[in-house]
Symmetry: D3
């Protein structure tokens, strides 16, 4: 692949290879949560809520630090065909576990738990409609919900007004190689065809929090890896702008 190639390729949905799908963030979608955002990456829709409670889990008590964790889930008919509920099956699946852990780590990367005080924030990311990129949408939306929950806690005096629990912002995007061409922000139809699939979590100042690349088809070389990282930085730069816009006033 060369830049020349990339410029001329047009995808099924009309995008160029380095273009995001339309991104929408509806801040405060949920009236009950301390912070919330309905985020859409094209047809992917994730409801992110941040629940802030005073106190921390037992293993963290007395250390003067807070805790941030996340749970990801999908409605049974978020997808093209219905999946059984994990509650009915009686156990959380491997994929759900893996994504929940990824979201939690990603958000903790921009939190100073000392500044948070002994408070706990649970980020629930529920996929209402799935069309690829649900975990990256979840991370990007969860940041907005988290920021709002922290603002709320400051306004309520639960966190001191001067505290700075957020050390930055964070967003995430998927990239992949399809027919040898690296592409940004894969919808479901592209995702299933990708030879290599990578999810990249990046801070607002362009540093990596997570890089998770997987060869679905053929193993990838160093050059392909670099092209994917380049694209991911383009995408997360834009996403962090959209987050900043959404959080204005």
């Amino acid at each position: 692949m060369t830049d020349n190639t990339a410029i001329t390729i047009v995808r099924a949905d009309g995008r160029t290879v380095d273009q995001l799908r339309p991104i929408t963030i509806t801040r405060g979608w949920s009236k009950n949560a301390e912070g919330s955002a309905l985020i859409e990456f094209g047809n992917t829709r994730v409801l992110c809520t941040a629940s802030l409670t005073e106190g921390v889990p037992r293993w963290l008590k007395g250390e003067g630090k807070g805790w941030v964790t996340a749970e990801y889930a999908m409605l049974p008919r978020a997808t093209n065909t219905r999946n059984s509920r994990e509650s009915v099956k009686g156990k959380v699946g491997g994929r759900t576990h893996e994504i929940s852990r990824l979201i939690g780590r990603s958000l903790r990367a921009i939190i100073d738990t000392k500044e948070l005080g002994e408070n706990t924030i649970v980020l629930d990311c529920d996929v209402l409609q799935a069309d690829g990129g649900t975990r990256t949408a979840a991370i990007t939306g969860a940041y907005v919900a988290l920021a709002d929950a922290i603002s709320w806690a400051k306004s309520e005096g639960i966190i001191p007004a001067k505290a700075q629990p957020l050390t930055g912002s964070v967003s995430a995007i998927s990239v992949g190689i399809i027919d040898g061409v690296p592409m940004l922000d894969l919808p479901y139809v592209e995702d299933v065809r990708a030879e290599t699939d990578m999810n990249v979590v990046v801070t607002g100042d362009g540093k990596f929090v997570e890089v998770q690349g997987t060869a679905e088809g053929a193993p990838f070389d160093r050059e392909e890896l670099n092209s994917l990282l380049d694209l991911a930085l383009v995408g997360t730069y834009e996403l962090s702008e959209i987050q900043r816009e959404a959080l204005k006033n």
Copy 2:
């Protein structure tokens, strides 16, 4: 309580005792399901999807009949304070079971399973935001999703165009007695104060499918029961009009 009293009482949200909250039905909210509706009873928001698949559960095979079932659930932060996920707890709670069964029975009451053919419809009712009346909103919205799934199946030739699987429509409302006064469509703040709480499921032609009355505080007499049923019929009459409107063209 007398009718005179009822006329003059104004509730916290400005409604009269026999008035529904604003009802909104957004048909087709979900792109992936065969039928779907986002239904709102005031601040209560339930996403109802209907998933139609060919074939029936093993115990029903070869009888030439279809099957309709339902699953109800609540997002962890649909409520004022966060509830643990049932998938994480590893079991479905009693309340969830009970409501899922109620929704299933209610919808089966207006289905002719022979006309449905050997097809299965699963109705998923996920509460995105809760403010009282989630089970009744779920039944009312599930009917719309169900009707659309059946139309889709006819258009696809999965169900013969002449088949009439729907024998009518169905909707549901909660009623309750608060400080001795029967009231219609209780939001959360009224629900927790109700001495008696009743959920009534009614067909479009005004017959009862389910009557579930519970004395939360004091036992109730025959007269109170009758007042509650009167109110419920007023509410479900209106709901069935709103359903009809939503399903136009």
Copy 3:
């Protein structure tokens, strides 16, 4: 249906439409429990035990109130064909959950938890043999076990002798419409044929605690509902007499 019809109908077991099956209450059947009753509605046999322990669940501590709860279950071969044990399946089914909750609510309706003091009573209702009406037999028998457990606690000084935790008595009966005719106390063969099935929980002074009517076949109208409630009041009146008799001396 008219009264004329009802008078002449004779059921498979020889009863009239408004007649209960033979009811037997063996008080104190279990030597270990603080209160117990083996109750029989015809061939339906339910062992009800009341276990009273000092203290309350954590969420109720320090409020000076007691707690009453119930668990219903069925032996695997209580029924015509064997059912798998819920312990072996690893989860409690929806029907079991639903009935346990119903029994708990019904008994709490005649308990003044303040008078009970910080004590907990668990009512276990285990169906040893099932022939319809197990949940109503369970409620009716659980009341006797509960009353005896409270007497025991008074005699032991756990509850003050002057306290009045029981605000009344409670019993329950099933009613249903079969071939258009409302009938009282349905055995299994009638239950499966009923178009409408209703369980009614009534206090000793004739007020409603729970009304749970379900259209199994066709939806029912107001008149049918009224006939069923009439029958239920006849049945529960008799049951409360039998309870009183059983609890003498």
Copy 4:
């Protein structure tokens, strides 16, 4: 211990060391099962039902053999203090598993599975009241239920009239050493004090099916072991007489 000692010792309930508690077998206690017996060893009461169904588990299909298995359980308030239900805990405990397996093995020891044909018998042994020796009562009662289920199957033509699936009878008893003295058929108060506890399963012709001896306090020597086996043979000889009596016509 010598015989001299044994003769003079009188136990709390007035029995001699080699005397069984009063044993009662109520055959056919359950109307729904193919065979059933309510068995009582003093205050220990176990309801044993035998459920016979045509066909065998998948792993046994086509071998022309039947299958016999058992499940043991205890009602939550069978004991002095209430135990949580295993269905509610979501798992079967180790003790329950162990006893269920013991009962199954014991009954299979007197079954010729070829003669049974491709039929399955499940023996449910539910302890309604516990006062020591529940597993041995369960085995002894299960044999009666099993024998009746087989008679029923012959009368129904499910098993050929000439088939002899039962190769003998089986019963079981507990023995133990208390204060150095071997004793037969321990009630709960003796069981908790026993230094050594042994459950012995014996055929009607006096051969061993299971010998399970456990040093609860001090390890035991060969002589003590022999004394316990002697007592067990005395007890099971009597039990097999009682079984024979119960099964007459």
Copy 5:
């Protein structure tokens, strides 16, 4: 069977009927545990670790006594064909429960919990390769791990140097009757053919802790039982020598 017969019989692996398989104990195989042993009975390999922690379970607090418990498990491919993991199935099977309980009881039989102080020792016995006799190898190896954990605790001052928590040693062996001949230490090929199978747990001074005999095929008589016990005492005598040797310096 007579002694004459026994002398001339040679088994598939060349052993005489009263001969153990080659026994190896690799003490301290695991670097992380307070005590550990990899024990081999022929091809059967069990890794036994002893984890000592200060404190006791809640129900034992404040009694000045310690606690010893055990957990047995098998790797999925320890056996000839792969078994599903119990963690994946979501529950511990009956056999696993039964053996874990047996190991725990056996080791507690030679522990003076008062001398142990309020410390807990968990013995994990994981079967890495199975060829019959895994539970008896587990008990025999667990004793070595236990003894080392106690030595460690003394050297660390967690248990006083003068305390004597071990009241003796314990080992176990399987014996069985094959084609009418009692044999010692059965590998898998013999185990599946045994008419009677017995596991015997014996202290270092030759007293019984557990005797678990099961008629797999035909019931056994008193003489056969005696032969099996004789063999078991021969085997455990040798095993206790091997344990003593392993624990030297």
Copy 6:
């Protein structure tokens, strides 16, 4: 960090920053499995077995392709302090799920499922002793077990002698940044201090199968990412040599 720095740094265990711990592969450690390897990275010990069975899971039937999957687990006392068994907790944890999935994907990357035919290989990777890098040791050892299982299947004629199910080899290593210095193959003491932790799975010809980098402390930049990838390629090159050596004759 510069190369100059790296050369002079000596780690707690005496290694240079780009040096692996001593690696040992004991091929065929398990007698029962079709392929097996006990692999050691320093004190980390993982037993890898490959179980090959004919046939494939239902969802793959009739496609002429095989299936390779993996399960990872840890013995409770593989670690410094004991962890509860997942079988006892009744559910598989998120970390276990995540690693099992990683191993499965890694091995499938070098398998041509068409060449495998309709056969299934399950790779069980059980950590017997943990000291960092268990997942990378598991992948590296699982390859050896997999290769041997395939050789066995060819020798048995289950897979045609000419088939080439293996398209290459695969190994994995952990790398991390500690005090700003990138290091290869982290033992536990280094792993807990790492700011960034990365697991890299690489084929025998140096292409990437998985790249999983996580900022545990501070986010990392492109340069650091590159240094880590360089180190990982050094390590996996060596590991693939060791694998080749182990698989000779």
